[in-house]
Amino acid sequence: MTSSGHIKKDNNDPGSDYKSLPEGYGNTEAALLPRDPNWMFIYWEITANSKAEVCKTHGSDIFQKSKQIIRVYDVTGTGSIGTVDQKYFDIPVMVDAKSWYINVQESGRAYCCEVGLITPDGRFIGLVRTNTVSLPVGRVSEVTDEKWMSVTSDFEKLLQLSGVEYIGKGSGEVAKSLAQRWEMLRAVFSRASSWGVSSLSSHTLAKPPLSKAFWLVADCELILYGATEPDAYVTVSGRKVKLNTDGTFSMRFALPDGGMELPIKAVSKDETETREIKIKVSRATNTDGK
């Protein structure tokens, strides 16, 4: 799959913009999608009718006075939400955000989510529930097979031979590799510096010199995400951030050692209201050289 050009100018008839798609489909529903061993994506729609029903039962100010959350259930084994001892955790969220990325500590588990409210007296009101998603484990299985058993040290060696260190870097995407070369060419021209890690490509771990048999490399990045009104003006560290249609935003940063401050500022469309959140991150990497 390759690409080499730009769209023709006269080829942009109205209605081709994603904003022309419906905001919702008039159904209260939600879906959960797997992204990787530790991340899922949820989107939902809660109709005005559904909200009105909840207000009718629980009081008209129930949305204002309750905490709005996503409840993330671990439904491993059963596939559905049980009644007793059900494992879960909550993520504070705005019901109007309509979508969210969910980080889970435990990979290889099955999850199901419910968007809902926690009332001031601690009761949970579920608004909409998702399908179940099984996340991959993201590492070598503990299970061995008697018929096909191999000695453990052999398996370690086999992993190396299989190129375990390349996992996630074997992208077959031509465009990506070529885009990198193009960026390289542009950098030669302009010495452009890059701010953050906006694209998929920039960071790869360098393989150590071949002389060492055993080795380890590790690095980390920072993902910043949030949501506001879709028409707000948002900046991070003073730079404008492009919002998604639903007002959410996310970005990846390189995270070098040291401290980093990320002031996030949102200004409402009529410029009458401002909200600010400041996040401080610090990183210290310790390699003892052994």
Binding site: T2, Y18, L33, V140, S162, V188
Partner: protein, 539 residues
Amino acid sequence: MANNEKGYLALVLHAHLPFIRHPEYEDFLEEDWFFEAMCETYLPLLDIYERLTRENVDFRITMSLTPPLCNMMSDPLLSGRFQRYYNQRLELSEKEVARTRNTQFYDVARMYERKFKRIRELYEDYYHRNILEGFKKFQDMGKLEIITCGATHGFLPLEIRKEAVYAQVKIAADDYRRHFGRGPKGIWLAECAYNPGDDVYLKANGIRFFFLETHGIIYGSPRPRYGVYAPVYCPSGVAAFGRDMESAQQVWSAETGYPGDQRYREFYRDLGYDLEYEYIKPYLHSDGVRRNMGMKYHRITGRVPLNAKAPYNPQEASEVAASHAGNFMFNRERQIEHLNSFLGRKPIVVSMYDAELYGHWWYEGTDFIEYLLKKVHYDQQTIKLVTPSEYLGIHPDNQMVQPSMSTWGDKGYNEVWLNGTNDWVYRHLHKAVERMVEMANRFPSADGMLKRALNQYAREVALGMSSDWAFLMSVGTAKTYSTKRFVEHTHRCIALYEQIMGNRIDEGYLKNIEWRDNIFPEVDYRVFSTAAAEKAAKS
């Protein structure tokens, strides 16, 4: 002589482009992607198969030809436009031969003239304007194994409805039969994206194997005894072959990969920008904007700006490709010898790449493949080239492993197709699929106009499922076009749904979109019914 080999090498090329065909425009820029790939990859590969066959060089290669690609390759409108494309370039290259006489660009200008003449000859005289004939010929000879792919290269792990997964496979298998006269034995899951359990839908369609990224196998459970160097059987009995990273990296690595050699052709310096405007204008699109012509006279040269690139020397570049092919083979021999002694079994090394890497992006890549196939035939006995079907015939004894969810995208999972640039598509896509399923269940035996409208809905929803749209949004190339395409198909689904459910189908509208989106002429919307998917899951 027989059985002297120490192991096997399976070379797998994934050929795919999204379905891009715009009869509503006289000429359309994005259709060039297909024409470029035809001239630079698909026809040159067939040319190699022709030459090797004539020289009695035995070879094996596996290619996926995705359903969108097959539908474009057999489309009369695109065929006519493709002829216009190469005839224009042939004319330009003839002018260029005259213009560059006594310059350092003469050899490369002549190379293009020869090339476009050969393209014309192959396309018209050998394959009668349908190159699927050519691919079928080599498949029937047993040298090429053609596998299919999801109907529109749909990204299966992000589909919620199993009906959609089944339909992607079933439509593809039927389309394959239409072109190649038998069912597919193998499939390339779009983006190598595997979701545990989806293999039952492959099995239900008679598919015996598919391919996975390395960690799809080595993170499988139980632990795979031979790593990626033997296929495993999924619980359904369908075989999964894992990608060998060593051979992938040899070609792909940014630092040490072959395509970066400075004697190779520079992709980004193109005649479309170099020549005088009035001279090149007749060969540009009707908007007159300078763009790549696919004719490039310079080599990579080194880390220098585009204007400091040195002239390309075709002879020298071809020799480099030969030496890289020799190096690749040498490394595979050593790798296979080592694996053989380590594993106590003949390993299979599966080297898989995007087909368009060869020829289109890495211009000399097709030479590389030709040299490699020849060298393997003449110069060594360690490696035997196989197709996956052949391998499974020789070694039906494989371990049962449940592979892990995985893709070949950046970071190994679904993020390329699910991130802040493209996550908005899924609520619309899932709704369009849900409505298709609803209608397929509700109308088990439609006919007349209703049937036509339902079949067209099936085409539109399938086109919306192409992983290409989300991918292009993610990498930022052709983002406007990919957004527009996704939105258009979604709009057509919404309109058709309202017309069908409101019992007021607008024939003029239907006719218009049937004319535009004519992929899968024989599609049957009932492949999306819940009963069809459930029956497949039980089979």
